[in-house]
Amino acid sequence: MREARLSVQSWRRRWFPNGEWVLLLVLVAEIGFFSVLAPNFLTVGNFFEITRFSAELGLLAVALTPVIVAGGIDLSVGAMMGLAAVSLGAAHQTWHLPLPVAAAFALLVGVAGGSLNAWLIARLGLPALIVTLGTLSLFRGVAEGMTQAAVNYTGFPERFLFLGQGYLGRVVPAQLPIFVAIVAAYVVLLHRSVVGRALYAIGFTPEGARYAALPVARRVGLVYVLSGLMSSVAAIIYVAHLGQARSDAGTGYELDAITAVVLGGTSVFGGRGTIGGTLLGLFALAVLQTGLHLAAWPAELTGVLTGVLLLATIAADRHIRRRPPVRAFVEEELQVKNSQVAILCATIVAGSLIVAGTNVWLIRSVGAGPRASGGLQPSPTAPHRLVVAVMPKAKGDPYFVSCRAGAEEAARELDVDLVWDGPTSLDAAKQNELVENWITRKVDAIAVAVENRGGISSVLRKARDRGIRVVTWDADAESDARDFFVNQATAEGIANALTDEASRLLGGTGEFAIITGALSAANQNEWISFIRKRLADKHPGLKLATIRPSDDDRDKAFAETQTLLKVYPSVKLMMAISAPAVPGAAEAVRQAGRTDVRVIGLSLPNINKPYVHDGVVQTVVLWNTRDLGYLAVYASALVAENKLAPGARSLTAGRLGQIEVRDSQIILGAPMLFNKGNIDRFDF
């Protein structure tokens, strides 16, 4: 009896030394929950898709585990991905090296970056947090500087893209074996080698490890070098996955990876943590995210639930952990504790089973009667309702929020189910994930505002192969990857409108400055290149003095404009080409009292009304975003019902009337100029 109990205990201690079983339960509960609620969640295909999304983040998380176990931290992993990605792109496309050599070069860059961290942390003994904060800026900055933030390396050979997009034997994603091999290597390193033991000792007490004659600096240095190397591997897979290399690859991945690691029971104080726990944490987050997408619940819930999950899991772990050291020798107590744990587990499992069971029953009963309004699978008895899934570039952006109003209006008129979801901030990789989720969910039509042309096209083609109709809006994918493109205005049209307006206001001669969004934003960079072209062609008297980033932050645009006004007194016009940057620039001009400086830009009417009325902002260029969302849903629904076939010359879109179609592009019309006279007529 006693032996059996002890063996159960040692078994648990051996496999789940940090209470990872809590997380395992969470994962099982999540899977149970979503397989009932989310259509097509519990399929082999979806299982492998989840592993595909998790590969890049997983590599970072696995590499971070020994770093954190050794009592350190590495915030530079995401930035290193960006640097390695552009190194790969530059080596392959600019220097024309063969791809394996270019990949080796990218790995070398990763090792070099990791070594810099290692040298500063292990040799100079600087705090890891501050060093990697510094290298985060450094790596990302070098990547931006190398490419002027604009170069987007594409055109990688098909065989390389297979690494990120292909399937082995039609089911297993090609990156999965690499991920598994690296995980296995890390398991050996951390749990089955002398080096791993040393890392635990160092994390537990570095001074003690030193007195025990462990080479502390060398061991600590090693994990940082490896973490740089793994970031590069992740970057290579990322590039193959998206088919493009840009300096913003992996932005924000460091926090996601750290979340997975600490969720997996690794102590941020060092000395405790396992690779298995990290994997559990990673998949608990990935399953949550995919499940929410498939169930068509708002993406914002991901953040809220991640936070709750993180707190609940660690708190549960703490609560359970707190007892043993005090009462370890009292056997009766242990016995009680074990049975308590067993009861707790049983209750949770039973509870989730009951919830799952009632849900199944509920859905069946609802399916037999009138259909619920949720995004559930249509039952055979009800007539098939179209499901149109629409994706903005970023959900919280006021621009897309105003598009959404139009999309919902069209969905109501047409009586279709609208799924509106997208990344919470600009993120090309998240868009791909979401399209994959929608393919799994088997929606009827997908309409995407494309963040990254090369990256999303392959997955859109896959959607079309599965019989889903694809429409792009706001920005286009490659033309064979979609049925139609709802074109609100071409990049060239926008650039010309802005440049001509600037020239008109300046009277043909003078200097102006551009406040852009993020330096690496693809849209803005395209506009800037067309603006330069227009300047050369039509307006030789105008001079572009400088370009400053605002990172889509109103306050940053404000500060940048303040500095610009002082450094370039001859600049008489600010052209802000990011929605929040226009009011920021306008406020700076107003507070400086510079009535000789004018502001124009691309933005939304509502946030600019006060400045347009004051006369600080002369003109805001934009199209009717509400109509854009309306038209996108209308077109998608028509295409899905086969009422709009290739070769059509026009379509009738509800209140918008007759709309012209030209070469599979649905034309919304020329961009509008909002000024004092007409801005009050618009509310978005």
Partner: protein, 333 residues
């Protein structure tokens, strides 16, 4: 050298600032115009205020990365209240209170439930940020009453008032950290929590207090920043936590607790705030700015690291907690 013994980092940051100032004085004297300095001060006021609170939290051996999200929520709530007709001072007080509540929540989870602070605040950061995104759907707070901008003062008066407030707050915080029992208790808690508790300090309550103070200061910073404009974006303060933590750790506070001074923090804020516009004045291309910023931070910190004997460096910084750092605790501003 002995005078600098506890303040090596402060000294190296001060040298870095002096060097930067020297370069600017020669290459771009316009940088030191009163107008530019005043603009810079106002633009970095939120960072400074939050950094004061963060210094307390870091000295107590904890960290808070949820300040950016708190900053955004407090700004939006203050704006919504002002729009509903509340006087601007009441809106300001409400924002501070809300910030203090969020801080207390973080603090309670850290001190009483025993979850590491980086985990707690990572969770509250993502949860709060997405909850705000969900409720506002990205919409800005608009049509604020005219009295909201500049808090009813004029654009000319406002900088003097906030300068006075900030200087007062900074000096008061620095003085209490150095001379009040509560201030010393924060150092003691951060140096060795167990020893501090055995010595009769209520370390849990103390940690809760530091988090609340940080939250209240974040709320204040959000309002003082919001009143410079006539509308409030719902995505404010993205990346604020990183700026603040960078300033605090560059200023010499150790993330393992027990060390750090407000003087260092102020110098750290000044250095980081000065670099960005300075590079514009020196006509550095925006595309290389971030790389240079990173390099300057690393150089300033590495200079400090290189001046220590090797053994101390490795043993001192990798040490997770406890053990003999109490004597290194020093507070001055």
């Amino acid at each position: 050298m002995a005078a600098f013994k506890g303040h090596a980092r402060e000294a190296s940051i001060a040298y870095a600032i002096a060097a930067l100032a020297l370069v600017l004085a020669v290459a771009a004297p316009g940088y030191f115009s009163a107008e530019n300095l005043s603009d810079l001060f106002l633009a970095n006021l939120p960072v400074l205020l939050v950094a004061i609170g963060m210094t307390l939290v870091v000295i107590a051996g904890e960290i808070d990365i949820s300040v950016g999200a708190t900053f955004a929520i407090c700004g939006v709530v203050a704006g919504a209240l002002a729009k509903a007709g509340a006087p601007v001072l009441l809106a300001c007080a409400a924002a501070c209170l809300l910030g203090a509540i969020f801080g207390a929540l973080n603090g309670a989870l850290v001190a009483y439930v025993g979850i590491p602070s980086i985990v707690v605040t990572l969770a509250t950061m993502t949860a709060l940020r997405d909850a705000l995104r969900w409720t506002t759907e990205g919409a800005w707070v608009q049509d604020l009453p005219p009295a909201f901008q500049w808090m009813g003062l004029t654009q000319r008066q406002f900088p003097y008032v906030v300068t006075a407030v900030t200087v007062l707050l900074t000096v008061a915080a620095a003085w209490s950290l150095r001379h009040l029992a509560a201030g010393r208790a924060i150092y003691a808690t951060g140096s060795n929590q167990l020893a501090a508790r055995l010595a009769g300090l209520n370390t849990s309550a103390l940690k809760c207090m530091t988090f609340s103070t940080l939250g209240a200061l974040t709320g204040l910073a959000a309002v003082l920043n919001a009143v410079r404009f006539n509308q409030i974006p719902s995505n404010a303060g993205i990346g604020l936590e990183m700026k603040v933590i960078a300033a605090v750790v560059v200023g010499g506070a150790s993330v393992t607790g027990g060390t750090g001074t407000l003087l260092g923090t102020v110098l750290g804020v000044v250095l980081l705030a000065a670099i960005g516009p300075a590079l514009t004045y020196l006509s550095v291309s925006a595309y290389w700015e971030r790389a240079l910023q990173g390099a300057i931070i690393l150089a300033a910190v590495a200079a400090d690291g290189l001046s220590h004997p090797l053994f101390k460096r490795v043993a001192g910084t990798l040490q997770p907690s406890g053990g003999g750092r109490g004597r290194r605790a020093r507070g001055a501003a």
